[in-house]
Every structure is written in structure tokens, then in C-alpha cells.
């Protein structure tokens, strides 16, 4: 015999408990903390690059906003405590999609090829590089990652940059920044960079959006990331590799503008040099390489106006000059590799490399790492 009072009481208690849990959840806001609970590096091997992707069914990987979950899934998190101090020389490489390795397997990326070379420092330590690149173009995104990876106590930083990451207007366009508004505001205030901490692009959650119901997508993403650990472990695949893709454009529009700027001159104020300097100041105690990464140099239509889809010649030339000048003045370890790679070694974008292109770059960067390893840090 069913007791209707019992049913009613169950329903009422369910509703009350559900409401209470939601309110408590919103008050505590534990989503970031949940991100640290990870099956990676315990049940599944850590990922060699940060989670990113728009094709999870085929890539076993996808973009999430929880930076803690992203870092917890990375292989660097396993080596945080496991590696005896001094046994390896740990190099963190940050940058955009060219570092992350669009269209490249983890082994084919810049970092993968540096590691494959089994480089050693002068004092015999094995150089182990970590790919902390993330496929959006923003120095502020790099600064955020550099801030978060300090806990891994790297021995060297390699910061791959390109002009497209520098414009002030582009700094907060990355979704990973927009959905970590508190962290970004912290960066802005701590470093005094020229960014608006009240920028409308930053996503602020209301109290109700912080409830379990409001954050269901974030929670599901953290859970999904753990599940994708199984196919990742089973296949070693973390990116969708299409059979064909459109090559970077060789014929270009006769557009001389860059980010709304017109020739003749780019000035330092147009660039977020303050963000770059903030990142460098974070790591005063270890050597940091700033590398102007290779770009595709077109020889097609309007190549006299533009180097490629991203850059008009005047803006890029000015950028190189500004960066070189800043580096010289401040004594940065700066490498300008803008024309290192042949045009045939670029894939679907003016900054994405073929495996061979990444190998050439890895050779150059690897030598630079060895050259600087053991040298005195910046004063």
C-alpha cells in the first residue's frame, strides 16, 4: 500500500535539500577546487598539452574553462613532486597554437621534438620541456599561465610570441580569460598592466549562476575531461587530424592595416609590452627566453604589402624593431626567429608548422636552451 503522505514528504524533502545544496554550493563556489581532483597522472597518463578542442568525439579532448582542471590533467602535474630536485632541467614553453601544436601530434610539436633530442645541460641534467602553450593569441593568456605554473618550479621559461598576441585590444578576447575573470583581475591589479579590470568581455557570475544548476556545465566539463582520459590513454590522441585542410593563404588582400592601425609606424604603446614585462618579472630568478616565433612569408599576390594573412609588412617590421630594442635595453634573452622556416613548412595558418618545420625550430630553440641553461638569471 502506497502512503501518499510518504510520497509528499519525500518530494518536499527533496526540493528543500536540493535548494539547500545549491545555496551552499553558490556560497562556497568549489568548482575550481573540484578541478584539482583529477584521474590524470594517477589512473591515466597526464596530457602532454593543455586540454583544447572543438571536436571531442574525434579528439578525445575539448576546451574547458577550469584552469585547475587543465593543469591537473597535464603531465607537468605528475612531475611536480615525483622528480627529484636537480635530476632534470625543466623548461616550460608557453605561447599560442604554434606551441600547442595544431595539426601536430604531441611528439611532433616543438616541445615533443626538443624532448626527443634528449638534450642535456652542461652539468649533465636531462632537459625536459613541457608544452604549456594554449591556442589563443594573447600575451595576457600567457601571463596567466606563467603565473599558475610557478608552483611547478621550472628551471627555464621559453616564451614564444608573435605580433598578433601583442595588441592591447586583443588581450581579453580569449574565452579562457573571459571565464576566469577573478584571476585576470588579480593579474591586472598585481602587475599594473594597461587593461580594464571592468572590461565587459570578462564574465562575472551572479549568485544564482554559481549554484549547482548554474555551474552544471562547468561541473560536467570537469567530469567529461576525466572520462576522456580513457580514450586518451587508449589512443594517445588529443587532437582531431583532418584528412585535408586549407593551406595558409599565399595570395593576400591589398590591406595595409593591422588591428585598425594604419602605416607608417607602430609605436610601443600599441603593444602590450607591459604584459610581457610582467611575465618576465615573475621569473627573475630563472632564465627566460623570449622568442619571436617564425611566420609564413608569402611570395604571392600583394606580398609586397603583407607578409601573410596576419601581418602587413610595415607593422611586422616595426614590431620586430620595437621588440629587439626593448630586449636590448632590458637585457632580455631574445631570439628573433621570424624567418627561420621555409614557406613550404607552414600548414593551415601563417604560424602553424609542419613536423619538419617544428623540428627545425626545435633544433634552434634546443640549442638556445642549452646555451642558457646554467647561465646566470637576469638581475
Amino acid at each position: 500500500m502506497v502512503d501518499s503522505r510518504f510520497t509528499r514528504n519525500v518530494l518536499i524533502k527533496t526540493v528543500l535539500l536540493f535548494a539547500a545544496f545549491n545555496l551552499l554550493f553558490a556560497a562556497i563556489d568549489p568548482v575550481q577546487a573540484f578541478g584539482n581532483l583529477s584521474a590524470y597522472n594517477a589512473i591515466f597518463p597526464g596530457r602532454p598539452r593543455l586540454p583544447f578542442g572543438e571536436n571531442p568525439d574525434k579528439a578525445y579532448n575539448f576546451s574547458i574553462y577550469s584552469l585547475d582542471a587543465m593543469l591537473a590533467s597535464h603531465e607537468i602535474n605528475a612531475h611536480r613532486a615525483a622528480t627529484p630536485a636537480g635530476a632534470t632541467y625543466r623548461v616550460i614553453v608557453v605561447g599560442d597554437s604554434s606551441v600547442w601544436g595544431t595539426l601536430l601530434t604531441p611528439q611532433q610539436t616543438l616541445v615533443g621534438q626538443i624532448n626527443a633530442a634528449n638534450l642535456k645541460t652542461a652539468d649533465g641534467r636531462v632537459i625536459r620541456a613541457y608544452n604549456l602553450g594554449y591556442p589563443t593569441l594573447s600575451l595576457t593568456k600567457d601571463l596567466l599561465i606563467l603565473t599558475l605554473v610557478k608552483k611547478y618550479h621550472p628551471d627555464m621559461i621559453v616564451w614564444m610570441v608573435t605580433l598578433e598576441s601583442f595588441p592591447v585590444t586583443r588581450q581579453l578576447t580569449s574565452p579562457i580569460l573571459q571565464h576566469n575573470a577573478d584571476l585576470v583581475r588579480g593579474l591586472i591589479h598585481a602587475n599594473g598592466v594597461r587593461l580594464n579590470s571592468q572590461d565587459p568581455q570578462l564574465v562575472d557570475l551572479s549568485f544564482w549562476q554559481k549554484t549547482i544548476v548554474g555551474r552544471r556545465r562547468d561541473l560536467a566539463d570537469i567530469f567529461r575531461l576525466q572520462l576522456y582520459g580513457i580514450p586518451w590513454a587508449a589512443t594517445g590522441i588529443d587532437q582531431y587530424y583532418p584528412d585535408t585542410y586549407d593551406l595558409r593563404a599565399n595570395d593576400l588582400d591589398a590591406d595595409p592595416t593591422f588591428d585598425g592601425l594604419k602605416p607608417p609606424h607602430l609605436v610601443p604603446a600599441d603593444l602590450s609590452l607591459d604584459v610581457l614585462k610582467s611575465g618576465l618579472s615573475l621569473y627573475r630568478d630563472i632564465p627566460v627566453w623570449v622568442v619571436n616565433e617564425p611566420i609564413f612569408i608569402s611570395n604571392g599576390r600583394n606580398s609586397d604589402i603583407r607578409y601573410n594573412f596576419y601581418y602587413p609588412r610595415w607593422a611586422y617590421d616595426d614590431y620586430r624593431q620595437i621588440l629587439q630594442s626593448e630586449a636590448t635595453q632590458a637585457g632580455w634573452h631574445y631570439l628573433d626567429l621570424w624567418n627561420l622556416i621555409q614557406p613550404s613548412e607552414f600548414t593551415n595558418s601563417a604560424i602553424h608548422l609542419t613536423p619538419n618545420g617544428a623540428s627545425i625550430l626545435a633544433g634552434k630553440v634546443g640549442k638556445s636552451i642549452i646555451g642558457l641553461a646554467g647561465s646566470k638569471p637576469l638581475e
Binding site: 568525439d57 567529461r224 580513457i230 587508449a234 589512443t235 594517445g236 590522441i237
Partner: protein, 483 residues
């Protein structure tokens, strides 16, 4: 069915179960079910097809009902629903009004999301309705014998089934439909022609037609017949009920709703959890045509295959739980489709507990008639041959019911061979081991061993089911066994 569909259906079932008396329930279920077949129909790039397919479903249902209403003796004492010409006319009128109402959204703008694209012109809809009515009137007027009428109807249903389950025929038909609607035929895709729930609807219709031919079908009103065939909780994923049982519940005196609320709610909640939490999570990991080739080790391949086995169970049984729960709220006790199938100690027991309603359908309309006819031949075949033919044929047909592909055929053959081997083992053990009485612990151990072997045999069978090409399945087997 998406979560939104299920939540809306739950609200509708609760409202109907709570508010309406038995008499009104039937009419409300009719309205909701007719609307549901349009709402659930997947969008098609072929112009207006997502309107015409549900309309064709209704046409087939009404015409099949008309065939079953032509002269034939009723089984004495069989349960029946009250039938009157007025009631049938009203049911027909309601269906026509709903179809026309949905068709009118072409001019008024889409009402919510009842159809995926703009319906065809009202004159075309009127023409289609007129044609169906003409055929119904013709059937009543000329009253063909149920043997001929039923057989033709079954052949038409099987013909459509054949087209829908074969990729090549789907392509041919889709190309033809694109040509008729003046669309680019080079864009034809195998996904153009996805008819919601046809596999289940066709098998329910064939069941009523065959039972009518054998005189077992109760007399049914049009409303009761439509409700049985397109009952909205079981429209998309079954179970395949039997009409005698369904109509008995539909006409039974109403139960106290509070007595149905708890068991129904429990099934719906469990079903939602099984489908949307467990199965959907496992789907990210389970064996599929994309990941099978990427797996690098034997161990992980086993993980993916086991995950698929669990995923398909939780997915399908979750939907069944939801259907049974919704049915319960409406006072209809749909049959169980699963009974802990992975815990069965042999394959025969597994097939008595996996997709039970489909297996029973094939047993009633294929296995039993086939084995009966083979046994009654002038020169009777050996029992083992009869069993082999019956089990093998049944399982292959069950395989092909999912789609006419080599892999479904091989999956059916895999199950047929397993069932036959188990049958022979049973026969052998009965004749040779009848007097062997193992101690309790050994008996228990054998049951566990049987369960382990059965689960793994079934799981390996899913390798055929999960992948579209035999070569992919063979590659998977190679990796599973480290070959």
C-alpha cells in the same frame, strides 16, 4: 528522445494520469501521441519529409486498422474495446484536425517546435488525407478477405522496412524524393531518410495484422488501435507491447493515481539516470567507428569493448525504464524489456532477458511457425537441424531488424551459433550428466563461470554490432586477442 522530450512527456503523462478519468485518458493519449510523432520526427534535408513521414505513419496505422476491421471471426472471449462508428469517426476527425493544425503552422509561423521545418501546402496535406480516407472507405466498401488484405499490408510494411534498413535503398529512395521535390540529387545522404520509430511501429502493425488473420485479435476502436501503435512513451524505443494486454490496461477500471505515481516515478528517475548519466558518460569511452583504429593496446581495447557492452545496456534499458514509468502514470503497464541480462548464466537465458519484447515477437511470428512447419514435414528433419534453422534464422532476422548490413547479419549469426551451441550442450548434459550431482560450491562456481562466459560471449558479439564494417570488427578482434 532528448531530455526536453522526456520532461515534456513526463509532465503530460502526470497531467493525464492525475486529472483525467479513464474515458478521457484514451482521447488525451491519442492527441498527445499524434502530436508526439511529429514532434519527435528528426529533421530531414528533403523538403517537407519531416512532415510527410509522421503523416505516413498515421496513414499506415489507419489503413492497417481498416484491414483488421474487415470481415473475420473474432476469437471468442477475447478482450475488446468498445467500438462504435461514431467513436471511430471522432478519432479519425481528431487525427485529421491535428494533422491539419500542424499543417497550418506553415501560414501562422511554427508553434513551438512541433515540426522541424515548414509543413507543405495545406492543399497537399488535404490531398494526402483525402487519399488515405478514400483507401479506408474502399477497404470497408469492398471488404477484402483479411488473408489477402492482411498479407498485402504486411508485405507493404516489410517493403518499407527493407528500404529504410538498407543504405543503398535509402540512397535510391532519397535521390528519388529529392528529384520529386526539385532538390539537388547529388547531395543525397544516407541520413536523409530517418523515419521515427518505424521499426517498432511496423512490428506492432504486423502483430495486429497477423493476429487478425489467425483470429486472435480483439476488436479495437480506431482510438484504441492508434493509441496502441503510437503510444507516445514507447514510440521511439519500444517496448513492443501486445495489443491484447495493452487494450486490457487501457479499458481497465482506473487505479488510484497515488498508487501509480511512486512506481512510475521510480522507473522514470532510474531511467533518466541510466540513460543521461551512466550511458551518456560511457558513450564517451565506448568502442565506436572512430576510436577502434586508434587504440594502441590490447588492454585498452578490452576496456572500450566492455564499456560498449555496459553503455548499450544502460542506454536501452534506461529508455525502457522511462517508457514503462510514463506508461505507469497513464495506467498502462508496458512489458519489461530487460531482466538483468548480463547476470544470466547462459545465452538462452540472456535472450530471455535482453530486448524481451522483440525476442518474443520473433518467437511468436517466426521461430514457432518455422520450427512447427519443419517438424511437420513429411520427412521430419532431425531435431538439431530444426533448432539450428530456427535459432539461426531468428537471430539473423533480429540482427537485420537493426539494419541490413553485413555486420548486423554477422552479429545475428554470432548469437544464433551461440544459442545453438548452448542448446546442444544442454542436450548433451541432460543425457550424459543427468546423474552427476556436484557439490553446492561447485554448482555455484559453474553458475559464475557460465555467467562470465555468457557475458564475454555477448560482449564480443557487440564488436560486430558497434562497428559498421566486418573488416573493422576483425581488426578489433585481432587487437583484443593480441594477434
Amino acid at each position: 528522445m532528448t531530455l526536453t522530450h522526456i520532461l515534456v512527456f513526463s509532465a503530460a503523462a502526470l497531467a493525464v494520469g492525475l486529472l483525467a478519468n479513464k474515458r478521457w485518458q484514451g482521447w488525451l493519449i491519442l492527441v498527445i501521441s499524434v502530436v508526439a510523432i511529429y514532434w519527435l520526427q528528426l529533421a530531414s534535408p528533403i523538403r517537407h519529409l519531416d512532415f510527410w513521414l509522421p503523416t505516413a505513419t498515421l496513414g499506415l496505422v489507419v489503413l492497417s486498422w481498416a484491414v483488421t476491421r474487415t470481415s473475420a471471426p473474432q476469437k471468442p472471449g477475447s478482450s475488446s474495446t468498445p467500438v462504435s462508428t461514431g467513436s471511430n469517426g471522432l478519432a479519425g476527425l481528431i487525427v485529421v484536425l491535428i494533422v491539419l493544425g500542424i499543417g497550418l503552422t506553415r501560414y501562422t509561423g511554427q508553434f513551438c517546435c512541433l515540426v522541424s521545418s515548414i509543413p507543405p501546402e495545406i492543399s497537399q496535406i488535404g490531398l494526402a488525407i483525402g487519399l488515405i480516407l478514400l483507401l479506408v472507405v474502399g477497404l470497408f466498401r469492398f471488404s477484402p478477405s483479411v488473408k489477402i488484405g492482411g498479407t498485402i499490408a504486411i508485405l507493404i510494411l516489410l517493403g518499407i522496412f527493407l528500404v529504410l534498413k538498407n543504405d543503398w535503398l535509402v540512397m535510391v529512395t532519397s535521390t528519388w524524393l529529392r528529384f520529386l521535390s526539385g532538390q539537388n540529387t547529388s547531395l543525397t545522404r544516407v541520413t536523409d531518410l530517418r523515419w521515427l520509430g518505424y521499426s517498432y511501429i511496423a512490428f506492432r502493425l504486423i502483430h495486429t495484422l497477423r493476429d487478425r488473420q489467425t483470429g486472435r485479435l480483439p476488436s479495437l476502436s480506431l482510438q484504441a488501435y492508434i493509441n496502441f501503435v503510437i503510444f507516445f512513451p514507447s514510440l521511439a524505443a519500444g517496448p513492443i507491447d501486445r495489443v491484447e494486454r495493452f487494450s486490457k490496461d487501457a479499458t481497465a477500471s482506473p487505479q488510484n493515481f497515488s498508487e501509480m505515481f511512486n512506481p512510475g516515478g521510480e522507473r522514470v528517475v532510474f531511467g533518466l539516470f541510466k540513460k543521461f548519466v551512466i550511458a551518456d558518460a560511457l558513450a564517451l569511452v565506448a568502442l565506436n567507428p572512430d576510436n577502434f583504429a586508434h587504440v594502441t593496446s590490447t588492454l585498452w581495447m578490452w576496456v572500450l569493448v566492455y564499456t560498449y557492452a555496459l553503455r548499450i545496456y544502460f542506454d536501452f534499458s534506461g529508455y525502457t525504464d522511462i517508457a514503462i514509468g510514463l506508461g505507469c502514470w497513464l495506467g498502462i503497464k508496458l512489458p519489461e524489456n530487460f531482466d538483468h541480462p548480463y547476470l544470466k548464466p547462459n545465452l538462452t537465458a540472456f535472450w530471455n532477458s535482453w530486448h524481451i519484447s522483440l525476442a518474443q515477437w520473433f518467437r511468436a511470428y517466426f521461430f514457432n511457425p518455422l520450427t512447427r512447419s519443419l517438424r511437420s514435414m513429411k520427412r521430419p528433419l532431425p531435431t538439431s537441424v530444426v533448432i539450428l534453422a530456427g535459432q539461426f534464422g531468428t537471430m539473423i532476422l533480429i540482427g537485420l531488424w537493426h539494419g541490413i548490413t553485413w555486420n548486423f547479419l554477422l552479429w545475428g549469426a554470432w548469437q544464433g551459433i551461440g544459442l545453438f551451441l548452448h542448446n546442444r550442450w544442454l542436450n548433451f548434459s541432460r543425457s550424459h550428466l543427468a546423474e552427476w550431482a556436484p557439490p553446492g560450491w561447485l554448482r555455484l562456481g559453474l553458475v559464475y563461470l557460465g555467467t562470465f562466459l555468457t557475458f564475454n560471449y555477448v560482449t564480443l558479439g557487440w564488436v560486430w554490432f558497434a562497428l559498421p564494417e566486418p573488416i573493422q570488427s576483425l581488426a578489433t578482434f585481432q587487437k583484443l586477442f593480441g594477434l
